[in-house]
Amino acid sequence: MNKLIASIKEALRLAGIRDGMTLSFHHHLRNGDHVINMTVAALREMGIKDINLSASSLFQVHAPIIDAFEDETITSVESDYIGGDVGRAISMGRLKKKAVFRSHGHRPADIENGKMHIDIAIIAAPSSDASGNCTGKYGKSACGSLGYAMPDARCADRVIVVTDHLVSYPLPDFSIPETQVDYVVQVDSIGDPAGIVSSTTKITRDPVGLRIAAYAAQSILHSGLLKDGFSFQTGAGGASLAAAMYLKDIMLKQNIHGSFCMGGITGYLVDMLNAGCFEQLMDVQCFDLKAVESIRTNPRHREVSATHYAAPGPRGCIADHLDAVILGATEVDLNFNVNVHTDSQGVIMGGSGGHSDVAAGAKLAIIVAPLTRARLPLIVNRVNCISTPGSTVDLLVTQYGLAVNPSKTELKERLKAARLPVCSLEELKAKAEEMSGIPAPIFKGEKVVADVLYRDGGLMDQIHGVF
């Protein structure tokens, strides 16, 4: 059966594209992705309207789709993270319908249980054969794991693979099998490698970031969780990686052998695997070339689907097995609620990603952030948007001190006994305001531009426009 189609436009036509459909995309090509823009350009040429764009994340590179908001080719967006100008355009009210934010776990859960029906999934694949066996591990646009594309491929009515590296049948080490793929399109380039993965991911040298990271690692050490079998997740941000670096030193010195590390995998976590800190890496997304090389060559570095990573439900997921996670925040409020959706002006600049999933799943959820950023205090009375509920956050680590969720009395005692600078959220807030003053309230428009859903499907918060 020949699945090779000459163009994305033709594949869409064969897949039965029509107005009002839901089209889905993954974000493994991150800020180097060309496929969403190419597909949206094809839709506009075809005169298709009222598309619901479901992407696991959107970045600055996707700014050209804003034109498709204006001509109503796209009228709604469902995503886990919306950055750059796309987020700003939604905050400015340029999208016809409300955007819907889910988490990285809730999205695949809703895809698999049918609550989010995908008509056509367009899967950018760094390597594929003509029958659609495809992977992210090989090719000039290699991105490593294709974990976020897996539920889309499994559940969409029609699946189009778009690749710039067509290999002879069968591609041996496939991530998505031909049984889930209807059409294959070969293009010159699916993305810019410089924006897909970093050549290296660097640990911060900022002394404040390093101080925060050291406190986070010490908190994990003294929490009682750091022992053989320990499991861990951290982000690719500078302070998070630095915390992993400190943790690696502690684990090696104390001869602690963890079970697995989940993520968002970087070269530093690969180093921890190879140094014997962990038995396995569970990889839903690679962040740098070292991680891509590792997932390709090391059987202990496993590719997992977004569903397996974090989808809530009775069958469980990896996030539920985590001991400790280190996460960031743009704002934290006095109830430990965390905002990672909007910036200090209330403009959409991100989203939960897996933030709320792993905070809920892990035994110890640590938020790391500087107490002030550009003269703005981190801690507020009420966050502009609740991304992750405070009931799932155990600890806030800043350079000025550590605030433990009052419900975690044992953790508080342990950290105090370890002579870490434990204080209250109120004390940290007062310190930040002493340094930078109390910011004026931000402008909030009347119109709601986005709903933020929690991983259980409930409405967590709403984001108002800023126009």
């Binding site: 040298r205 404040v208 390093l210 101080r211 350079q399 000025y400 002579r419 002493e434």
Partner: protein, 293 residues
């Protein structure tokens, strides 16, 4: 107890505002080498304002002023001393004459500002003459809180190369320790200048501690934790010191004159050392004072 003295450029507000969070026991707010001539007045004003803000910890705040052969040091003192820094760090201190000039100006500014207490001095010894006059400097007056060694300028003055091994400053190190201890003041070792060599840093700090230094200057915030750890008593040392003090207490209660622990005689220097360890632990970790008498 001061184990680490970390330099912070006086003209960088972000570094100043976060300085206390970096973990050093003392901060040296620098008006000298880290600040270009065009920024001297900016740095003075920033450091003055910083000294006026509320502290989160009991960090010891020292201001490094410009050398007495420059046009800046008098203005430094005029702006800084009224804010009552914990100490002033003068550079290239070579002997009594320089200290006479400096302290005369300090006294004048302090009197004008109505200060009751003279501001302590931590002279930076970084010339051959300064090393040779170490005892004269250390015992100059009650203002002297300690001596600090600056190895980089010293080796330039000695016409030799500064090395990681530090053979070339061995004499200066031991001479400063001896002079400071003879005068009953603290003594702080030169910074380790390779920011990325953490193993080398630990070795260098351990060597300084073994020679008798009280602590060490640091030029990178990344060095603070390592130097703090080297100059802190370990849990085992604290435990052992407490055991010694408990033995002494029991022996006194029982009227014994000679005391031994684990087969070793406990004599006066061992008891003094144990008291010092327990006192250091109290200052570093804020633990309860051991009552051994």
């Amino acid at each position: 107890m001061i184990r680490t003295l970390s330099f912070l450029p006086g003209n960088t507000p972000n570094m100043l505002i976060n300085g206390e969070t970096l973990g050093a026991d003392a901060l040296i707010l620098d008006l000298e080498d880290a600040v270009s001539p065009a920024e001297k007045d900016t740095a003075r004003i920033l450091v003055r304002n910083y000294l006026r803000t509320q502290r989160i910890r009991k960090t010891f705040l020292i201001v490094r002023i410009n050398a007495t052969d420059t046009a800046y040091w008098r203005d430094d003192l005029a702006i800084i001393l009224p804010e009552k820094p914990d100490a002033v760090l003068p550079t290239k201190v070579s002997g009594r004459q320089m200290l006479d000039t400096l302290t005369a100006e300090m006294s004048r500014v302090e009197q004008d500002a109505g200060l009751e207490r003279p501001t302590p001095l931590l002279p930076l010894i970084e010339t051959a003459m300064g090393v040779e006059n170490a005892i004269e400097i250390a015992s100059y007056s009650d203002r002297i809180m300690g001596l600090a060694l600056g190895g980089e300028d010293l080796t330039a003055d000695l016409h030799c190369k500064r090395t990681k091994e530090g053979q070339e400053i061995f004499y200066a190190r031991t001479r400063l320790v001896c002079a400071a201890r003879a005068a009953g003041v603290n003594v702080f070792d030169t910074p380790f200048t390779d920011v990325d060599d953490m193993e080398g840093l630990e070795k260098d700090a351990q060597f300084a501690k073994a020679l008798g230094f009280s602590g060490k200057l640091v030029i990178s915030p990344r060095h603070i934790d390592t130097v703090n750890a080297v100059f802190s008593p370990t849990e085992e040392e604290i435990e052992y010191a407490r055991l010694i003090l408990a033995c002494i207490r029991d022996a006194k209660a029982q009227g014994k004159g000679v005391v031994s622990l684990r087969g070793k005689m406990i004599d006066a220097p061992i008891v003094a050392r144990a008291r010092q360890v327990v006192e250091d632990a109290r200052q570093i970790f804020g633990e309860e004072e051991d009552t051994d008498e």
